[in-house]
């Protein structure tokens, strides 16, 4: 069942005289519950895809049908609601609110959705329940990213979007984070998209979309995705 259907998506950034075609006629489909990895070199257009999928940016042309709704046609208010109820985001730089504890950061997101997961439960999932009263400054990068993931899953989103979640972490910690994400995806059956430039990670995905210069290079479906434990970093 096709959950996400991107068709002829083009994104052009205009910077004065210069126009940059960040995405050029991109089309792909993602099934519900699939773990998708978007691969590609820096500047390929991965983040742009994710931002558009996450309702943070608008498409120049093309359609982005998610759960039968074309979000490319949404206005900013509808996009806000879309982000509010349907999307869980994990950033490269965690973006936790410094003045809230781990638990509060999770609750911050969950309090505004319709069917949130219990915040402590979410923290427990990422294994940080014992640190729930700590502030981001008191946590390591990996721990912060885990809080960030807890915050994303606590919203019970339809779509979990992760933009280079391991980019700011050492490989060991990165691995743990990817493991957590795969685990979550499998357990909750949430459609998850992970962006990375690390090809190794591609092996754990159900589907791998390779992007290059704003174009889709290839879409491969992994019949047997590996577990994180099995891959070599």
């Amino acid at each position: 069942m096709t959950y996400i259907s991107v068709k002829n998506l083009t994104k052009i950034y205009k910077m004065g005289e210069i126009t940059i075609k960040a995405l050029d006629n991109v089309s792909f489909d993602i099934e519900k519950g699939e773990l998708t990895v978007v691969l590609g070199p820096s500047g390929a257009g991965k983040t742009t895809i994710l931002n558009i999928l996450g309702g943070m940016d608008s498409a120049t042309s093309g359609s982005v049908i998610i759960d039968n709704n074309d979000i490319a046609k949404y206005n900013s208010r509808k996009l806000t609601d879309y982000r509010r109820y349907d999307i869980g985001f994990v950033f490269q730089f965690y973006n936790l609110v410094g003045n809230l504890t781990a638990l509060e950061n999770v609750s911050l997101a969950s309090q505004i959705c319709k069917h949130p997961m219990d915040s402590s439960e979410a923290l427990k999932r990422v294994g940080l329940l014992d640190r729930k009263d700590h502030f981001p400054a008191q946590l390591s990068g990996g721990e912060q990213q885990r809080v960030s993931i807890a915050r994303a899953i606590a919203k019970n989103p339809k779509l979990l979007l992760c933009d280079e979640p391991t980019g700011a972490l050492d490989s060991k910690t990165g691995k743990k984070i990817i493991e957590l994400l795969q685990d979550t995806c499998h357990k909750t059956k949430k459609t998850t998209i992970i962006i990375t430039h690390n090809a190794v990670i591609a092996d754990i995905a159900d589907k791998v979309i390779k992007v290059k210069n704003g174009k889709i290079e290839s879409i491969t479906v992994n019949k047997k995705p590996k577990l994180v434990k099995e891959i070599d970093w």
């Binding site: 410094g98 609750s107 911050l108 505004i112 502030f135 008191q138």
Partner: protein
């Protein structure tokens, strides 16, 4: 250098922040520079005006006029540049008191419209009172050759710049307008005034100490000359008067001499006439006497004749009777006898003698012969008697004729004499009348001469009044107004600029902190620290210099003009010339730049001290310690996240909070102070003249007037509410200055409350006591006096009196001392009164009343409380204007500060805000997340500001207070409310702006990198 390019980019990118920084600098510097410069600009403008019009430095008027000799001796004084004698007089034209002056070179008039007069039939009228073409008719013809003139131009005079032109000796006592005529239209033989220009005063600023110094020096010289010239003038006048007396005496004497002989001659003639008449009368009398005597004797004689005749007649008649005959029968009898005789003789002839017959016949004949003889005798006798009677009768008639003739003669003579006497009497009467008239005339002459002599005795020595510019109402009032500006300007802008600096400091400080990682990157790249510092300095300088240039231009031009316009309403003064004070400019620019650089350095040095690696890492948020409130679990648990964030933010970033609160508090304080000053001023007049000294007018009595008559004239003018008082000017010494106050002694203390309300500072009523005075609050403060203490005061003759203070009364304007008649008598040994305090009916026409009362000649002056109010109103209007400016600028500053604080806040939180947006927070939710903090800080700021403002208000009023005015140090509830509302409204406006800024924050951009 790329790093500077970075600076410029930064400026462009953070337009809002730079703009608010520039605005703050503009507001701070323009207000500071402008308000501080206003008084000096005002004074410079007026000084120019005075210089251009050659306003006199000294004016001399004398009680007896001034002469060319006076001018000559004044010209000899060192330090005098120019001397000019000129004329003026006050006269009533259509009921208005008008000063008619000669056009002079010193104290020139400024032609507003029209042209200068060309002849004596033309004149100039004051602008606003006369129009070109008006015809002026002056009733009093003592002064001018031509008393009618046509207005050919309108003018202003630098001597009369204030709407209150001072006093006039005519009309209701207030000078209304000015007229100028050519000097040679005056026909006086003395000058009424002399104008002086002192050497070097034009180079000095009027009102300045150096100007006063010159004036003081010349004044000393003038004071030395004054008695000499007074004496000289006295002697001159005395000589003139004595000459006149001598001349009059001579005249009298010659008149006397001339008339005396005339009268003497007349009298002599009259007298000699009288003698003649008397002689005539005597002659007449003696003639009459003689005549009467003659008449008597003659008549006696005649009577005797008649008597003798009568007796002879009787004898005759007897004889006759014996004969038996009558007078008529005598002749016939005789004739018969004669016939008988003849017959007998014939018979005898024939008869012999012997014949018996003969014998018989002879005997018969003899008998007949005897008879014949007898009859003949009788006839003779009868004839004689008849003759005698005839003689007697004729002599009687002759006499009678003679007598009546003589009598007639005498009578006519008498009539003549009587006429003569009547004439004489008339002459005497005439003489007497004339002589009496003459005597009266002479007596008059003599009296006049004596009076003149007495007057000479009484000729008072002329008194010179040496007047300076400060005796001009306008000159001083203007200075008062200007210094009122200064008194507020002295301190207020400092607080203003302080807040501006604080905000600029805050902005820079937080900007540098924000860009910590960038600085770290620069350092790690090996860029010199000085270069980095310079890149920030550049940022600051661009903002500051832009702000300074605009701020100083506004400050030096716009602000003085705004403040000046109010004065232009009550003063007739030229356009304001604005001056940029280069020293002040330099100081402001240097201070701003130095302070800003200091901010940059202080903030940077903290970073520079650290190793580049440390700087590169984001400053770890102040450790996630819990704030105190979190320990109150039930409370904390119920808070929403945004509240938790807000509270944590509030309590964690103390410096930031401090700055924000201080900024808002500062603006609130400034606003509140502005309103507070206005409050203090607005009720001042109403309280002073409505609640405290609430009488409507003061009538000052002239010396030696009949008090019954005065009372009558008061009744005639329907004045019933008045009280007898003794009002006089006194001085007391405080802070090494002699300060004036008015002593009011109530002769009838029962009525005090109707005119003045005496209330002690705690609000209780005060009563005049028999052994002490009540003084006003400010005076007590200046004298450091308390109830029961003695204070010393001096009267206008500098005599010292010691009085005991029995009470201190609430009072705000001017200083007063009140006492009752008992204590007054004890201290001054006097129980007379010299003035009335009066309450008027609302319906009374003041101008008419003044005219009526002044016409009686009993009153020297009539002062209406309302006029006093007007004067203070002008001063207060000026101060109010500053207050509006303060309020306006404080409002601007407040909005800028709020904007600045919010912008900084948003900049620091961009990432957090973007995160919230990504999480799906709506715009409203995102803004409220930012607002909450701002609102709390704003409210805290306002509360702090209200306390600050209260102190600031007290402080500024204390500094602005003069020896004359005590401010009511209250801030009305409305002012608190207004200050609160204004800040809140601005805060809301800023929130609206914030809303749109927040909306425009780009999530993707903000999330891209670590900060």
């Amino acid at each position: 250098m790329l790093i500077f390019k970075n600076s410029f980019r930064k400026i462009w990118k953070s337009k809002g922040r730079v703009l608010s920084l520039i605005l703050i600098v503009i507001l701070g510097t323009s207000f500071f520079a402008g308000v501080r410069e206003t008084a000096s600009d005002m004074i410079k403008t007026l000084d120019n005006y005075y210089d251009e019009t050659n306003l006199y430095d000294f004016k001399i008027v004398s009680t007896m006029g001034l002469t060319d000799d006076d001018i000559a001796s004044l010209e000899e004084i060192e330090g005098i540049k120019k001397v000019e004698g000129t004329y003026s007089f006050d006269t009533l034209i259509d009921g208005n008191a008008v000063k008619v002056s000669a056009l002079s070179d010193i104290s020139e008039v400024t032609l507003v419209d029209g042209r200068m007069p060309k002849n004596n039939n033309e004149c100039l009228g004051e602008e606003g009172y006369y129009n070109i073409g008006d015809t002026i008719k002056i009733e009093d013809d003592t002064y001018l050759e031509s008393n009618t003139c046509e207005v050919v131009g309108t003018i202003n005079s630098s001597s009369y710049i204030y709407e209150n032109k001072g006093i006039s000796i005519v009309g209701d006592g207030k000078l209304d307008s000015l007229i100028y005529v050519p000097k040679n239209n005056f026909k006086l033989d003395y000058y009424t005034e002399i104008y002086l220009l002192a050497e070097g005063t034009k180079n000095e600023l009027s009102y300045s100490d150096s100007y006063d110094e010159i004036i003081e020096k010349v004044n000393k010289e003038l004071q030395e000359l004054k008695p000499l010239r007074e004496t000289a003038r006295y002697e001159e006048i005395l000589k003139d008067a004595m000459d006149k007396v001598a001349e009059a005496e001579n005249e009298l004497n010659s008149v006397k001499a001339e008339n005396e002989t005339k009268f003497n001659d007349a009298l002599t003639e009259l007298n000699s006439n009288k003698i003649k008449l008397d002689e005539g009368l005597e002659e007449y009398n003696s003639s009459l006497y003689t005549l009467n005597k003659t008449k008597e004797s003659t008549e006696e004689e005649i009577n005797n004749g008649f008597n003798a005749l009568e007796s002879a007649k009787t004898e005759f008649n007897n004889a006759l009777a014996s004969t038996g005959l009558t007078v008529e029968s005598l002749q016939p009898t005789l004739d018969t006898i004669n016939t008988n005789i003849t017959q007998l003789e014939e018979q005898l002839k024939g008869l012999d003698p012997s014949d018996s017959l003969y014998e018989t016949l002879n005997a018969r004949l003899n008998e007949l012969k005897t008879n014949k003889t007898n009859i003949e005798t009788l006839i003779n006798t009868n004839n004689t008697l008849t003759e005698r009677e005839n003689t007697l009768n004729s002599s009687l008639s002759t006499w009678n004729n003679e007598y009546s003739k003589a009598l007639k003669e005498l009578e006519s003579a008498k009539k003549e004499i009587d006429d003569g006497y009547r004439e004489l009497e008339k002459g005497y009467n005439e003489y007497n009348t004339n002589y009496n008239l003459y005597l009266e005339e002479i007596a008059n002459y003599e009296r006049e001469i004596n009076d003149a002599k007495a007057e000479i005795q009484n000729i008072e020595k002329p008194v010179w009044y040496l007047l300076t510019r400060s005796d001009l109402t306008g000159y001083t009032s203007f200075y008062e107004s200007a210094t009122k500006v200064d008194s507020i300007a002295a301190v207020f802008p400092i607080f203003f600029i302080l807040i501006a600096f604080l905000m600029a400091f805050n902005t820079m400080n937080r900007m540098i902190e924000e860009e910590r990682s960038e600085i770290g990157a620069f350092i790690s790249l090996g860029i010199r620290k000085s270069t980095i510092a310079f890149s920030y300095l550049l940022y600051v300088f661009i903002a500051c210099i832009l702000g300074l240039v605009i701020g100083l231009s506004i400050g030096y031009t716009l602000i003085p003009r705004i403040l000046y316009t109010v004065y232009a309403a009550s003063f007739t003064i030229p356009e304001l010339s604005t001056y940029a004070n280069p020293y002040a400019c330099l100081i402001i620019v240097l201070t701003t730049i130095i302070l800003m650089s200091l901010v940059v350095f202080i903030t940077l040095i903290k970073d520079f001290r650290l190793a580049p690696a440390t700087i590169l890492r984001p400053e770890s948020p102040k450790s996630g310690k819990k704030i105190l409130l979190e320990h109150i679990k039930p409370f904390w648990r119920h808070l929403s996240f945004s509240w938790k964030i807000t509270l944590r933010n509030l309590f964690r970033y103390k410096k930031r909070i401090f700055m924000t609160v201080l900024g808002i508090a500062g603006c609130t304080a400034l606003l509140l102070t502005g309103f507070g000053i206005k409050d203090s001023l607005s009720d001042l007049l109403d309280i002073q003249y409505g609640d405290i000294t609430h009488y409507d007018a003061t009538l000052v009595l002239n010396d030696d007037v009949d008090l019954d008559e005065v009372t009558k004239s008061l009744t005639d003018n329907n004045l019933t509410n008045y009280t007898n008082t003794n009002i006089s000017s006194f001085t007391f010494k405080a802070n090494n200055k002699n300060l004036d106050f008015t002593l009011i002694a109530f002769m009838n203390e029962d009525s005090v409350d109707d005119y003045v309300t005496l209330k002690s500072l705690d609000g209780s009523d005060l009563n005049l006591s028999d052994d002490g005075v009540i003084i006003t609050e400010k005076m007590a403060e200046l004298l450091n006096a308390e109830v029961g203490k003695n204070i010393s005061i001096r009267n206008s003759d500098n005599e010292l009196f010691i009085v005991k203070v029995s009470g201190i009364t609430e009072n705000y304007i001017s200083n007063f001392m009140y006492m009752n008649s008992t204590y007054y008598k004890e201290i001054f040994d006097d129980d007379s009164y010299n003035s009335y305090l009066v309450n008027l009916d609302d319906s009374i026409n003041k101008e008419k009343l003044s005219n009526n009362l002044l016409d009686t000649g009993y009153f020297g002056a009539i002062q209406y409380t309302e006029d006093n109010m007007d004067m203070f109103n002008d001063i207060i209007a000026g101060m109010n204007n500053i207050v509006y400016l303060i309020i306006a600028f404080s409002s601007f500053l407040a909005i800028t500060v709020l904007y600045n604080l919010t912008i900084i806040n948003i900049n620091e939180r961009k990432r957090e805000i973007a995160t919230l947006k990504v999480l799906g927070f709506r715009d409203r939710e995102v803004s409220s997340y930012v607002y909450r903090e701002t609102i709390i800080l704003t409210i805290v700021g306002i509360i702090v500001g209200i306390f600050l403002g209260f102190s600031l208000n007290t402080f500024i009023l204390m500094i602005a207070e003069t020896d004359e005015i005590l401010f009511i140090k209250i801030i009305k509830p409305l002012s608190y409310v207004l200050s609160f509302i204004i800040i809140i409204v601005f805060s809301i406006i800023v929130q609206v702006i914030t809303y749109f800024i927040l909306k425009r924050i780009d999530m993707i951009d903000s999330l891209k990198s670590v900060e």
